[in-house]
């Protein structure tokens, strides 16, 4: 049990050990390390509620569904713009964007737009811009934002020139055909939304969502589909 905890919180364990050692052998250094940390903790606590509110407001009011329908090959500049918006308003690390982009590709989104979504998802998320401006200054943030925007557009078009749709692997089948539901744990960011929305089917294990039982098509209730839809990384697969 304790070993498992240490495994899932490697970094926390490491930091604790380092500080404990430092306190014993170099208490003076430890004190200055604490003082440095205190400063950053204070700054971080000040900016956290802002990032939280921005994430919540975007989540509540931006119609992501409508945006995703307009990203096809013929979508042109409007499609590019919507891709920038979609990437910028999302939450989570870049690998969380992979399954979502995969789904968009299947729905017909162009490679250009997929590159724009992935890149802007990575570097120009709105809540993070607030964070960047706080720690590095508004000038720094604004200049980097503009340069990044131009770069992403250039990258998207170069990629489209080199990579064609047939180069993308799209084998998307369950390993076992009798299994209807599956969680791709590599995509799971452990947010716990599924366990809250559908506690009958999902549980958390080692900070990852897991299926308690795999229902058949008949057994599956509305609950599980609500969870699938609300999974922020679309990690829950339904092969129906």
């Amino acid at each position: 049990m304790i070993l498992e905890k240490i495994k899932t919180h490697k970094l926390i364990a490491l930091v604790t050990v380092l500080y404990a050692g430092l306190l014993i052998f170099l208490p003076e250094k430890a004190m200055s390390a604490f003082a440095n940390t205190g400063y950053y903790l204070k700054e971080m606590i000040q900016i956290m509620p802002v990032i939280f509110v921005l994430t919540v407001t975007i989540e509540t009011w931006v119609p992501k569904e409508t945006i995703t329908k307009k990203l096809g090959d013929q979508s042109g500049i409007i499609g590019n713009l919507l891709s920038f918006i979609l990437g910028s308003i999302s939450a989570g690390p870049i690998y969380a964007a992979f399954p979502i982009c995969k789904m968009l590709l299947k729905k017909g989104a162009s490679i250009t737009n997929i590159v724009i979504i992935l890149s802007s998802w990575a570097v120009i998320k709105v809540p993070m811009l607030a964070n960047e401006a706080k720690f590095l200054g508004p000038d720094f943030m604004a200049t980097r934002w503009i340069l990044t925007l131009i770069s992403i557009l250039a990258m998207a078009y170069v990629t489209t020139f080199i990579v064609k749709k047939k180069d993308l692997s799209t084998n998307e089948t369950s390993s076992d055909p009798s299994v209807l539901f599956e969680i791709k744990s590599a995509y799971c960011i452990g947010c716990g939304v599924c366990t809250k929305l559908a506690p009958t089917y999902f549980e958390m294990k080692n900070s990852k969502g897991q299926l308690k039982t795999v229902p058949t098509k008949k057994e599956a209730s509305e609950e599980i589909f609500i969870a699938i839809e609300n999974c922020p990384t679309k990690a829950i697969q339904y092969y129906g």
Binding site: L22, A33, K102, I111, L136, I162, A186
Partner: protein, 160 residues
């Protein structure tokens, strides 16, 4: 609290009040979702902040200035871009980390290269990306991202 943070707080309070007024239930649902996502990150964030404190206590400012201060800009920028590519820490804590290095004398050019490759180039997530999109797409996207991270960094050096 500095003026900039105060302004952000003002905007946030207005936003959340409007959102709650327009649709309290929908807002509360999103709050629950965002809260559980953040709760999972918080331990790691705090741990990394303590790491920053530790690093700053041990690395003297003049070493940072000598290595990253702009005397060997090209080398330090490429090194920063490579380190950013192989590191996987949340962007969330990357800003205070980079900010602390800039404050004690690092040039912004390697700083920007690090920030950009950190989030855009993923060596650790490469297998996952390859599995999702195929090898060619993944190579091209990561390669271009690395190249453009350097361009963005140099651009920052010119403009700021």
């Amino acid at each position: 609290m500095d003026l900039f943070t105060k302004i952000l707080w003002g905007i946030s309070i207005i936003l959340i009040v409007i959102s709650l007024k327009k649709d309290a239930n929908k807002t509360k649902d999103s709050m629950k979702k965002s809260r559980s996502m953040m709760k999972n990150m918080i331990g790691e964030i705090i741990a990394i902040l303590f790491m920053i404190g530790l690093i700053l206590a041990f690395i003297p400012a003049d070493t940072v200035e000598r290595l990253l201060g702009g005397s060997n800009l090209i080398l330090s920028t490429i090194a920063a871009a490579i380190i950013g590519s192989v590191t996987l820490i949340p962007a969330f804590v990357a800003f205070p980390l980079v900010g602390s290095f800039v404050n004690i004398g690092a040039s912004i050019v390697p700083a920007v290269a690090f920030l950009t490759t950190l989030t855009m180039v993923g060596v650790v997530t490469f297998p996952l990306e390859k599995q999702t999109f195929g090898l060619k797409f993944t190579l091209v996207r990561n390669g271009l991202s690395f190249l453009f991270a350097l361009i963005i960094a140099l651009g920052m050096g010119v403009f700021l």
